[in-house]
């Protein structure tokens, strides 16, 4: 009880002193550190891949005491990330606002120009990984190669159900690619979230999906689903039997970026702090183990290199969306 009293007393003192000196001490010479909990915005809902990654990062920070202030995840899934982008763009305190992004970081501003988002204004912090995509079918279908897949899908015409995560999402882009490249007419049915999509395939309510490895891993290990093709430059170590589409003569590579972005107008010192912090997280054994298990790819990118990566990727996405007819 006495200890608590002391704590209260010193709280009172710090409060009193703090009120007087906040202005004076704000720009001290010491390296920048967050002064209050950092808002870590997630462009997706609770329980999804991005959400899991952020909560994992949160535990790495806390476990290794990488930051003196906690990072508090905030889910803003609305409007395919539109809500998150607008929120971070208008952040009241850009030095304490960062965001975990997906490919909707590029596509949502392109599809909804009315939002007035220019990704060039955001502060590059660090690319943590690139997630990969594979083409999956149910094991009971007997299909093991892309050729068999094409034959079966052709035979069923538009009765062949491809489940995905939403209109104009990554899954939709890949489905359109397959339809065009192989002259198919698969029907794209959107569901909420990659986990649900994976389950629809395992429960035979869909004929094929283009899930991330992490979403299908459980069903794959249980012998329910198998990958038959990979949208990567090289075969994935976890699925050595799934050839890349490049090998099959269709030059198509597609990634899902998992990047930490700072709010526009973040101070240089603050940006440097977060860049250093996320480099440490990336190098931690926990994150490296996570990447290996989830079959995530990519090196750490930051600063100008990350910015030019964004601008390059944005053009790629734009070209794809124009080809799909989603934008002009």
């Amino acid at each position: 009880m006495r200890k608590f009293g002391n704590k209260l007393l010193s709280l009172g003192l710090t409060l009193g002193l703090g009120l007087g000196f906040t202005v004076a001490s704000a720009d001290s010479a010491k390296a920048w550190e967050p002064k209050k909990p950092v808002e870590f915005v997630i462009m997706a809902g609770k329980g999804g891949g991005a959400d899991k990654a952020v909560r994992f990062i949160q535990t790495i920070i806390a476990k290794n005491k990488l930051s003196s202030k906690p990072f508090t995840p905030v889910n803003k899934p609305g409007g395919s990330g539109a809500e998150a982008l607008v929120h971070v763009k208008n952040a009241k305190d850009p030095d304490h606002t960062i965001m975990f992004t997906l490919n909707s970081f590029y596509t949502t501003p392109l599809l909804q120009p009315g939002l007035g988002i220019d990704i060039k204004t955001f502060t590059p912090v660090g690319r943590m990984a690139e997630d990969t995509f594979l083409l999956w079918v149910h094991k009971d279908s007997g299909i093991t190669t892309v050729d068999q897949f094409v034959k079966a899908a052709k035979a069923k015409g538009n009765g062949w159900i491809m489940a995905g995560t939403g209109k104009n999402s990554e899954d939709n882009i890949l489905t359109d690619f397959l339809n065009q490249a192989y002259g198919l007419n698969m029907k794209y049915v959107p569901y909420k979230g990659g986990g649900r999509v994976a389950k629809e395939l395992a429960g035979k309510n869909a004929d094929s999906t283009v899930n991330n490895p992490s979403e299908q891993l459980g069903f794959y290990q249980a012998g329910k689903t198998i990958p038959i093709g990979a949208f990567t430059p090289k075969r994935l170590p976890l699925f050595p039997d799934a050839p890349t589409f490049k090998e099959l003569g269709k030059d198509f590579v597609y990634f899902m970026q998992r990047t930490v972005v700072g709010a526009p107008g973040m101070k240089k010192e603050a940006a440097a702090y977060y860049q250093g912090l996320f480099k440490k997280i990336f190098d931690s054994t926990e994150w490296q183990g996570y990447m290996k298990k989830k079959s995530l790819q990519g090196d750490f990118l930051t600063g100008d290199a990350l910015m030019s990566y964004w601008l390059r990727e944005k053009e790629v996405q734009k070209a794809i969306l124009i080809k799909m007819g989603a934008i002009k």
């Binding site: 808002e39 329980g47 905030v74 803003k76 809500e83 049915v189 986990g195 649900r196 891993l217």
Partner: protein
């Protein structure tokens, strides 16, 4: 027999001192989080997830499981004491729990809720222990048509919940469904009803915003008007004898408890359904099957028992697809799933064979957590009763503050708080004209589940409604839904036939 050995081994793990302490701590924390309006098991589990790296994975999931359980018990507390459902799973508990509290039987309602939760949870865990893998297989085959059929059944069970004024009841259902459609339409990928691009509408209208607006603010304004500032609740007392009396009375409701438990458990297993439809359906069935349905909504103890046993059974049920298939049945299990991945466990059919200590330790801990939640809950009842005895001019501003903070916290967006205030004020004005409000709150929960399922089904079938009748599970559920829909009408017609003098 093998299952029994594994379960006993699990109990040995659950009773290790550290794990036991985690269970008790988790139940107590969960109870408080669940009792706050606006905070439910999702928040509790999500917030405490990063803390769990301090203990081994088995301890971690035991802790989170205990929080989940505690929060499910706690949800009933704010439903009964304040009339504000803390989470969507506890909506049905307000229907009869609140009237009981107003009649000075708050202690009775709380004991009933806790006991029913205990029974529901226990039945759920037993079913879980016995039939985990085969049920998981069935749950897996449930696609969009089955889910839509299930939602239709949920709607069918509560058609009778509204008031006597049919246009007003229908209006309430429709407005809830329309509000549920706000946000992003996932099928077409287009934003919908965002009222000129207000960013706060992108994430849709959260169930809690409407529920707290209506049950918190509107009901408070209404109570203030009616009570004219006096204390509303007749002074409830609580003592050992009254608790024992209540328990004796509860023996008579065992059929309701069993019905709620089984129904809740099976609905809970289904991916994407979760505990909310389960508890609503249990309430609807209890009322439909009752000999005197008119006593429901006026403080019938069965109206507390049925949904509470169902939502706890359902929360156990929702863990089944999570563990065995890696599919979350509810947002809370989605986060538990994330936790398992963080601790280095891959959920799926192999988890039972690869990590038996983890799985069975967890299952056994659910039995233990259930018992402790009951004990902690009953121990705190006098404290809750004491809160109710505060003068209304103190209680009212505290509840208002709880509502506002509770409306803000889930999304950390002031937009939702303003929306809640508007719902509260308009809801109050409509309440005065006898518009029933519960249907709107239920519709906003079920609408966003039903509509995508309907459209996904029609996409799959190229626009043919036959898909709901050609698939065996969907057809059976559809048939049940129609029976439930027609049953109350038949009953009314039958009674009119029996007593023609009373008709009209």
């Amino acid at each position: 027999m093998e299952t029994l050995a594994l379960l006993l081994n699990g109990f040995a793990i659950a009773f290790q001192p550290l794990n036991l302490a985690l269970i008790i701590g988790g139940c107590a924390i969960g109870l408080f989080i669940g009792a706050m309006p606006g905070l439910g098991s999702v928040n509790g589990v999500a917030i405490l997830l990063p803390m769990t790296f301090l203990v081994p994975p088995t301890g971690a999931i035991i802790f989170l499981g205990a929080i989940y359980y505690g929060a499910m018990y706690g949800g009933a507390i704010s439903s009964i004491m304040l009339g504000i459902p803390g989470a969507s799973t506890a909506v049905a508990t307000t229907f009869d729990g609140r009237p009981m509290a107003l009649q000075g039987k708050a202690d009775k309602a709380l004991v009933a809720a806790a006991t029913a939760s205990f029974v529901g949870g226990s039945v759920g865990v037993v079913l879980f222990t016995l039939f985990a893998p085969p049920l998981a297989e069935i749950a897996l085959t449930f696609g969009a048509p089955e889910i839509f059929a299930l939602m239709l059944m949920a709607f069918a069970t509560f058609v009778g919940l509204g008031g006597d004024d049919i246009p007003k009841t229908l209006f309430s259902i429709c407005i809830g469904l329309v509000f549920g459609a706000v946000g992003l339409d996932i099928i077409s990928g287009e934003p919908r009803l965002i009222f000129g691009g207000i960013p706060g509408f992108f994430h849709g209208i959260n169930f809690l915003v409407l529920a707290i607006g209506i049950y918190g603010i509107a009901e408070m304004l209404w109570t203030i008007e009616i009570s004219k500032g006096e204390v509303m609740i007749s002074q409830a007392t609580v003592n050992f004898r009254r608790i024992m009396d209540t328990l004796r009375e509860l023996l008579g409701t065992w059929r309701m408890m069993m019905m709620g438990s089984f129904l809740g458990y099976f609905v809970g297993i289904l991916p994407a359904a979760g505990a909310t439809p389960g508890s609503l359906m249990a309430y609807g069935v209890a009322k439909t099957a009752s000999n005197n349905p008119e006593t429901y909504g006026k403080g019938n103890i069965n109206g507390v028992v049925a949904p509470e046993s169902a939502n706890n059974a359902a929360s156990t049920g929702a863990m089944l697809p999570m563990l065995t298939l890696g599919i979350p049945g509810s947002p809370t299990t989605a986060i538990l799933l994330g936790g398992m991945v963080i601790w280095g466990l891959e959920p799926g059919p192999l988890v039972f064979t690869d990590h038996p200590d983890f799985v069975w330790g967890f299952i056994a801990s659910l039995y233990v957590a259930n018992t402790f939640s009951l004990l902690i809950n009953i121990a705190f009842i006098p404290a809750f009763i004491w809160v109710l005895k505060m003068p209304f001019t103190i209680l009212a501003p505290i509840i208002f503050i709880l509502c506002i903070v509770g409306g803000f916290v889930p999304t950390l967006d002031m937009h939702d708080v303003w929306l809640m205030l508007i719902f509260g004020i308009v809801g109050y004005l409509m309440r005065k004209l006898d518009y029933p409000m519960a249907p709107a709150v239920l519709a906003i929960v079920l609408g966003p589940l039903a509509e995508p399922a309907l459209r996904q089904s029609l996409l799959i079938s190229s626009g043919s409604f036959l898909i709901f009748f050609t698939r065996p599970f969907a057809a059976v559920i559809m048939a049940l839904a129609f029976i439930l829909l027609i049953l109350p009408l038949v009953k009314i017609a039958f009674e009119k036939y029996k007593n023609p003098t009373q008709a009209g």
